[in-house]
């Protein structure tokens, strides 16, 4: 009876499920099927044995990671950089979306929107090369400008410098992703009933009051859900960006788990070790998501599940 009810419901909403199908297939193929590879973290991977035929090694590679003298620093750096990106980077797209939502000049709004999306499609390699050119203390335009207008006496070494590292990492991440991440908020704002704004106006609310009492509550649910999902990446600070922007001078604060995993796995050929560290990252991420989800449900009644 229950099964037939389920099928009837599925059939009734068949078009909606059809829309979901590509997403389900994508997740199944690229997120669930590769899960069988997790076992490599518990095996001594050999080229001939592969994923399923290599001998079991138990928790050997997890122990190796926690015995590694930099494991603590790697975890600390990863969490700190991710937290900075989360705290600062999470609010910025909301701010941009609100600002754009308030713009009444359609052409200007669309131009700003398009320009803000563009950096998202530029690879980190290009972004970092641009930054190297712009920020170099040897004839870089940024330093030339700062010196010429008298803001600084000597050029500043922005890159590969601990004093500027966090600002550069978080700033470039926001610049690259702010436009793209604001799309979902723009969509949520477009769905807010215009009558609410009308009612607020009648009640005497100005622009800021309307934002506070109508716009922000209107996007609250989506913001909470995105925040819960974002906490899942706290153990992942961004492989490409950190690989390219971290140098020997900033290694003490810029070495993160993602780059360590790639270095161990591909450069050193320690695939089982890399898989173990990667699995550790994923487990912590899962715990974080579950925790934040529970807190969100208690505090705001909004949660993923």
């Amino acid at each position: 009876m229950g099964a037939s009810l389920l099928w009837r419901r599925l059939w009734r909403h068949k078009l909606l499920y059809l829309f979901m199908l590509p997403g389900i297939v994508w997740f199944f193929l690229f997120s669930y099927v590769p899960l069988y590879g997790i076992q490599v973290a518990f095996r001594d991977f050999t080229f001939s044995g592969g994923f399923t035929g290599s001998p079991w090694a138990g928790l050997k590679y997890f122990r190796q990671f926690f015995d590694y003298y930099q494991s603590e620093a790697l975890i600390r750096n990863t969490i700190l950089i991710s937290a900075l990106k989360l705290v600062i980077g999470f609010a910025m797209p909301i701010l941009l979306a609100i600002l754009l939502n308030e713009v009444r000049h359609v052409k200007f709004k669309k131009t700003v929107q398009t320009l803000s999306y563009l950096p998202y499609f530029v690879s980190w390699v290009v972004v970092v090369t641009l930054m190297q050119r712009l920020l170099t203390p040897y004839g870089g335009p940024v330093n030339d400008l700062l010196v010429s207008i008298g803001l600084v006496k000597d050029p500043i070494r922005f890159l590969n410098n601990t004093s500027w590292f966090y600002q550069i990492i978080v700033g470039s991440d926001i610049w690259k992703n702010i436009g793209w991440n604001s799309i979902i908020y723009m969509a949520a704002m477009a769905g807010i009933d215009q009558q609410l704004y009308e009612a607020a106006k009648i009640d005497g609310a100005g622009r800021f009051r309307q934002i506070w009492h109508v716009t922000l509550p209107g996007i609250r649910n989506i913001a909470v859900i995105l925040f819960i999902l974002a906490t899942g990446s706290l153990m992942s600070a961004g492989y490409e960006q950190l690989l390219l922007l971290n140098g020997p001078a900033t290694a003490a604060i810029g070495s993160v788990l993602d780059v360590h995993v790639i270095g161990a796995g591909i450069s050193q050929g320690r695939l089982s070790y890399a898989a173990a560290v990667g699995l550790f990252q994923s487990i912590i991420a899962l715990v974080l998501i579950l925790t934040v989800n529970r807190i969100a449900r208690k505090v705001s009644d909004v949660s993923l599940f």
Binding site: Y68, Y69, N160, S267, Q268, G269, L271
Partner: protein
């Protein structure tokens, strides 16, 4: 009926789609030999019959930065096909060679033939692949291929490399070996050193040959810095290098002789644990702190490094001579008197002043046939031909009668091509002829000078190199034949746990160089020392000392 037909058509369509998809997946990554082919004529018979079935072999040339010209089938590749019946498809590595080795075996995306560096993580990856049945055992076939056999004969391979790789598998033989000098006169000295722009040395009033000690070098760089030189409005950096810091660190030989040192009691210790290593690190830290060494040098890309050099913004470059000559040629041409000259020769820690320079000159390349190769005989036939004198001349000089000819028995470049190649600063013309691409790594022992010298080198370059040699090698060179402790420690039982720590030495040195203070630099070094001790260094070095007891060990070695 219509419904049935429609259902049938849908089934046929689905089946067709599935078949296409499965067919797409059926090539298990080899993508290699087309058919079995019959290019396996007896070795030594390099003449093609013209009736053999065409064979295509895919070769991975695992040297970062190598690459083809603008044409796929060069005249040289064409000549090789005529001779052997084999068409070669090269795949070139862009990026880390070690990563490439690990990736191809982990993903099983294997070429027919792999060729790449005979050292470091690349060689470790190949040795691991051999141990794990990823390569073809050539032991029973090699007798038919005299050129290949000769190159891996025990007497022609450095002992440590033989023990570690070439002869490390008992009766099995997996690795072929290339580019080791066939005779003493074929030994290539790359002339690593510090080179200064001649006009800058004159401006600051220092004779480059008067710079002998580490203090002299520091004072020289300081003088350049204090002169506040600019080029196109940008400051000239006293010392710089190429991408990722290559090879500014070569000043290490002013502090210690080689990677392993005698502790004074006849036993060896890794230099990383010595006071000399600390002094070396703090010296470079001082250079960075005082703005004498380009702080971007360790993170810059090749184009940015070359741009700085081309704009004349680096006063002293540390690298090997050919790289410096090629990178500075343009600038020197447009700014007469600004060519780079060798500094020193600088003092060498632990070496008498009249001692010849100790160089580890050996082959740089290993080649293997992977288990994905469907036509091992054809692969061996190709490699045997390339390793023959005929193959060597073809690959290095071009097609006889077209690119070069014999004059009084000696190979001489045809003027038309010599001028064409010399005028092309991109090197593409030469590559389009087939010279300087992947085949060069496969030509057996290095016989460049034995067979006629580098006929494409221009006289100015040869003269400049001779000049640098006169300065840097006043007592000549001595080719190292002793055991390298680094090869022995890699065979210790602790190596699996110790290697990840030892792999960090280079990175930790750079971190220490950028540390805020000397104490902070030493702290960074000591942290890795502790980790090495925790991961088996004491036992591993004991293993090294036991195994090298009574053997001659490398204690002095310059970069080459």
């Amino acid at each position: 009926m219509k419904k049935k037909q429609s259902k049938f058509s849908r089934l046929v369509l689905a089946a067709a789609l599935m078949t296409t998809a499965l067919a797409g997946c059926s090539d298990n990554g080899g993508g290699n030999s087309e058919g079995s082919g019959n290019a396996n004529a007896p070795a030594g018979d390099n003449g093609g019959t013209g009736t053999e079935k065409a064979v295509t072999l895919k070769i991975l040339h695992n040297w970062n930065g190598s690459g083809p010209g603008d044409v796929d089938m060069t005249p040289i590749a064409e000549a090789i096909r005529e001779k052997t019946g084999i068409t070669v498809q090269f795949d070139y590595t862009k990026g880390s060679e070690t990563e490439k080795v690990n990736t191809i075996f982990a993903t099983q995306d294997l070429p027919d033939i792999y060729t790449g560096p005979a050292w470091g993580g690349e060689l470790d990856g190949i040795v691991k692949a051999a141990k794990e049945d990823q390569l073809v055992d050539l032991s029973e076939k090699l007798a038919s291929y005299p050129n290949l056999s000769k190159a891996i004969a025990k007497e022609n391979v450095p002992p440590a490399l033989y023990d570690k790789a070439i002869g490390a598998f008992g009766d099995q033989q997996y690795l072929l070996y290339q580019n080791q000098p066939a005779t003493d006169k074929d030994a290539m000295d790359w002339l690593y050193g510090f080179y200064v722009r001649k006009d800058i040395a004159q401006k600051v009033g220092v004779d480059p040959q008067s710079v002998k000690t580490k203090d002299d070098l520091y004072n020289f760089l300081k003088k350049i810095k204090d002169a506040k030189l600019t080029e196109n409005g940008m400051p000239v950096m006293p010392l710089g290098g190429f991408s990722n810091g290559w090879a500014v660190g070569i000043g290490n030989t002013m502090f210690y002789g080689s990677d392993y040192q005698d502790k004074g009691d006849g036993t060896l210790e890794h230099t990383f644990f010595t006071k000399a290593y600390e002094d070396y690190t703090l010296y470079y830290r001082k250079l960075i702190e005082e703005g004498l060494l380009d702080p971007e040098t360790f993170t810059q890309t090749d184009p940015i490094a070359k741009e700085k050099i081309n704009q004349g913004r680096i006063a002293v470059l540390a690298a090997h001579f050919p790289a410096i000559y090629d990178a500075t040629k343009e600038y020197a041409k447009s700014h007469p008197g600004s060519d780079f000259v060798a500094v020193g020769p600088l003092e060498r820690a632990g070496a008498e002043p009249n001692r010849p320079v100790d160089l580890g000159i050996q082959g740089n390349n290993v080649t293997v046939i992977t288990k994905a190769c469907k036509n091992v005989d054809a692969a061996l036939k190709l490699l045997e031909f390339l390793a023959s004198d005929e193959g060597f001349l073809l690959v290095h000089y071009g097609v006889e009668g077209v690119h070069w000819e014999r004059v009084d028995g000696k190979p001489v470049a045809k003027k038309e091509f010599f001028d064409k190649f010399a005028a092309d600063t991109t090197g593409k013309e030469k590559k389009n002829a087939g010279i300087g691409i992947g085949f060069e790594s496969l030509t057996g022992q290095d016989r460049t000078n034995t067979l006629g010298g580098d006929i494409w080198a221009d006289q100015e370059r040869i003269a400049a190199m001779d000049n640098a040699r006169k300065i840097l090698r006043p007592n000549g060179i001595k080719v190292i034949s002793a055991y390298n402790a680094g090869d022995v420690i890699a065979k210790s039982p602790q190596w699996e746990t110790l290697k990840p720590s030892m792999d960090r030495i280079g990175d930790v040195w750079k971190e220490a160089v950028f540390a805020k203070s000397d104490d902070a630099a030493l702290k960074v070094i000591n942290a890795l020392r502790d980790q090495m001790n925790k991961t088996g260094y004491p036992e591993a070095i004991q293993y090294v000392n036991e195994n090298l007891k009574g053997k001659e060990v490398v204690k002095l070695q310059m970069a080459n």
